[in-house]
């Protein structure tokens, strides 16, 4: 029912304590929204990309781009039209298509967006879901709330995976006459989307039923099969993560 978000790989990101890793990711996501220079945003993006590349390999490290490609495309279309001040750069006839300010805004917004995408992907891909759940619980989040968050993390890729499977099934039902192009191809995707939505909606009661069959909701105090390490290693990892976040902050502020 649920697709994985964890991707096996190697490197320090898999070794870091998830609690320290979560704090670092949150700090870096906050820093990217501070009034930092553009090069600072892209430096952080470059670090996130290199970290992901080092962890899961080149091919996988490009896949977040595919996921957010459409949103970036929409940003390309609309941001220049919503920021009209500054020196005109692209002009057709008397119409100003883009100004220096609008391009700067586009570069800033896009940089922030892809940076937080890569940072959160780095966290989710390199941390097993059960460790994420334990991390949330360590931060005193109630078990049911932590479970809902982790299930949500897993439900999104599940829908993406289902969409692919349904798309494949539909592609096998095409005939030579029905090879759609252009707008028709766009309309042909509607049955796939509706089928995915039905599939996703139908899976919600199944998910709830399975959780209850597995004892979720019982008044018995849950035990925990996994546990996060305590003591020195957590302190060391927190220290390292704190140093990374501080170094980056000082670098871009100074």
């Amino acid at each position: 029912m649920i697709s994985s978000t964890f991707v096996s790989g190697k490197g320090p990101w898999y070794v870091f304590d998830p609690r320290a890793k979560l704090i670092l990711i949150i700090l870096l996501c906050v820093e990217v929204f501070l009034p930092v220079p553009l090069w600072g945003i892209y430096l952080l993006f470059a670090l996130a990309f290199v970290s992901l590349f080092q962890a899961v390999g080149l091919r996988m490290s490009f896949s977040p781009f595919k996921a957010i490609g459409l949103i970036i495309f929409i940003m390309v279309l609309f941001i220049p039209f919503t920021h009209r001040t500054g020196t005109p750069i692209i002009v057709i006839g008397k119409t100003v298509l883009a100004t220096q300010d609008s391009l700067l805004q586009f570069a800033t917004h896009t940089g922030r967006f892809i940076t937080i995408t890569y940072l959160t992907t780095l966290f989710v891909w390199t941390t097993r879901m059960n460790d994420i759940l334990l991390t949330f619980r360590w931060f005193s989040l109630p078990y049911s709330a932590a479970l809902v968050i982790t299930l949500t993390f897993r439900f999104i890729p599940f829908i993406a995976e289902t969409f692919t499977r349904i798309q494949e099934a539909h592609s096998l039902r095409q005939s030579e006459h029905s090879q759609s192009k252009g707008w028709n191809a766009l309309f042909d995707i509607l049955p796939t989307i509706s089928c995915t939505l039905i599939f996703a909606l139908k899976s919600i009661p199944h998910l709830a039923m399975s959780l209850e069959h597995r004892g979720f909701g019982s008044s018995v105090k849950r035990s925990s099969y996994r546990s996060l390490s305590r003591g020195a290693s957590l302190f060391t990892h927190l220290l390292i993560c704190g140093m990374i976040a501080t170094t980056f902050a000082l670098l871009i502020i100074l």
Partner: protein, 470 residues
Amino acid sequence: MLSIENLSFSYPDYHGDGGHEKNLFHDLSVQVESGEALLFLAPPDAGKSTLARIISRGVPRYTSGTLAGHILFGELDILSMEAHALTPLVTCVFQNPQEQLLMNTVADEIAFPLESLGIPSEEIERRIQHVLTTWQLSHVRNVHPHELSGGERKRVLLAVTDAIDAPLWVLDEVFDDLDVKWKRFVMDLLQERKKTSIVFASRFLPEFAARFSRIVMMDKGIVRTVDEAELRQSPRYAGTRDNPGYTDTAGKMRLSVSKARIEHPRTSERAAEPFRLHVDELSVTQGEVVALLGENGAGKSTLARMLCGLDDPLEGVCAIDSHALTAKMRKLNIAYLFQNPDFSIFLPTVADELSYSVKKQGKRKQAVHDQVYKVAQEFSLDLEANPSLMSYGAKKRLQAAVASLLERSFVIIDEIDSGMTYEMAFQSIEVLRRRGAGVIIITHDESIASSLAHRTYMIEAGYVRERSVS
């Protein structure tokens, strides 16, 4: 003892011939003695899965419906209990494993209900180790269940059931995805452990012979006890029939694969070996039925995906006669019926579903109507039925009907027998074969293979080989 007494149930959207709400079953009474394994046979759409979910308190809670009657397990009134309170008492394995898998690794899947029961972590680890060894899943301990084959997923759910070790097991069509070895294993386990169990099934498998203390059959809501001799005479439930024998293949198209190699990694576990499959030679001719057998996780569905153009092999050639086929050409020539029918069914009625592909072929309205009506009759489908409310077996029939309308030269059917009676499975494959398609059936049921297939291929240790003719 489990005692089902005067149970009646109806879904609000389930209508009888008169268009009124109709009982799926009425006044149903069955007793299962303590330690008894009961086989409950019924055709698709009879309400087996619903009954399994009523016993485990999933229905009518998560699906609306009207329920009357009693279910007692010993002194406990099950229908007055919450589903989570039943976890230590009743474990149910559903027909579609996708519906029950929750966690990201096999080990976590097993651990989750044990954590809910408050079992200490050392004991959870001991049980995980034990069931992983018992169900031969140790090598996929940290693999995501999504990356496993259908049969492996069923084994994971059985391992969860084994780890909980509840006194009552409810197994809904659990044998469908399992290979012969594991079917026998489950039967042995039920006998050894003396578990009180109900096994719901659509057909009487050869592995069931002399294994159940009692067999009951439900038809049109009426339950009666039957014996094996009677079942062997029943074309609906018995799995033997005369093999159609040699088919004249002269002048017909031949699909072949030679020197092919397929490989893909498991993304959730780096240490796990990537999946590899080698095909030296495989062929099927139009009008011929070829069976593809292999253990769970052997790569049957992977091979099917490559054949129909969804995946490409690392090397090797897939051709019709002497013409090599690209992935796009394979899609246009080879139909593939997915193991899970929900992926390919999306329209509000059976009629819409069947006419969708025919309309896309550019046919006239009357021709579409005639063709759809004929195919619906061949596959015993109600044109006005809502596919999303149909049983798993009925959806598989609808899938086969869609494949028939596509008029592809070759059809691959992945586990058509899931949730179907033998009669329905034979009928569906026969219709496709009579239309002139070359049919590859992927199955774990030797009865289907020996009754229908002209030739059989086996997948063993990553290699596809033709089995010698018996």
